[in-house]
Amino acid sequence: MDEQQAKTEDIIKKENLVFDKTKLLTDKAFHYCPGCGHGVVHRLLMEVIEELDIQEKTIGIAPVGCSVLAYHYMDIDMQEAAHGRAPALATGIKRTLPEKYVFTYQGDGDLAAIGTAETIHSCNRGENITIIFINNGIYGMTGGQMAPTTLENMKSSTTPYGRNVKQMGNPLKITELVAQLPGTCFVTRQAVHKPAYVRKTKKAIKKAFKYQKQEMGLSFIEIVSNCNSGWKMTPNDANKWLENNMLPFYPLGDLKTPEKK
């Protein structure tokens, strides 16, 4: 055995382990494309639920979209919703089981297109739930069609020359919109393509669960994410593109906190 290998073996020991996959993610491999942000957000959610020790007390609502099978990966109670209806389902579950932590996990097509009514009204009613909103600017699952969140001039399979706002309307900043509603207590926009953003996103999710416990109203966490398959880029190029194009239009940070409305 050479010296380097001996050194490696000395470091790779149980007592030196500082990062491992959370036990709340099942052993099933994610079906997501290589580099997709969904996996990171799934992991963060499960890490938070593990750290708060609320596995038995949490009910998640899976959407329609790429993350339709989220319940295969998250080892908690989950319910599948019809396309866009997750906040309505979450409302019903939270009202009948108010001691549970209830969250929805939705894409931009699910939350900001077909589910706009459910999103706006659950936010306006101030349901005591948490909405996790993955914004990748596109309908990922169905083949990269334009979503309400698609940027101006951004190419998609239904806007091959780029989104022309004269014809197709403007991209929708639904997070800014729900921040105006009195029922939301915490509205924030985060990302997961860089380590520092990942840390901040995790903190935001933890805060949202804390506010839910304190019955402060609806927490809304947008996560600006990638869709390298839909955008037709390599994973690393997609993350660069996200940084240069998505973030200027969808700036990160808290839009509303209970302390600062």
Partner: protein, 76 residues
Amino acid sequence: MAKVTGRIVVDTEQCKGCGVCIPVCPFDVIELAKEFNSKGFHYAYMKNPEACTGCMNCALVCPDAVIKVYRKKVRV
């Protein structure tokens, strides 16, 4: 003098070779292997293990949670 040193262990069968761990590593430790796993993905591995500090950047951005990180203080 004590120095913090680290190692990562990649679950090569589950790694999809997306490579997002590579640019976030401050010490250029990771590379995609020439070999591939049974799914046909070129998995991530440590090309330069001595430089690893166990900072966890790679594991934080890994979409498939296939990276384990170890960290230890060693005397140099």
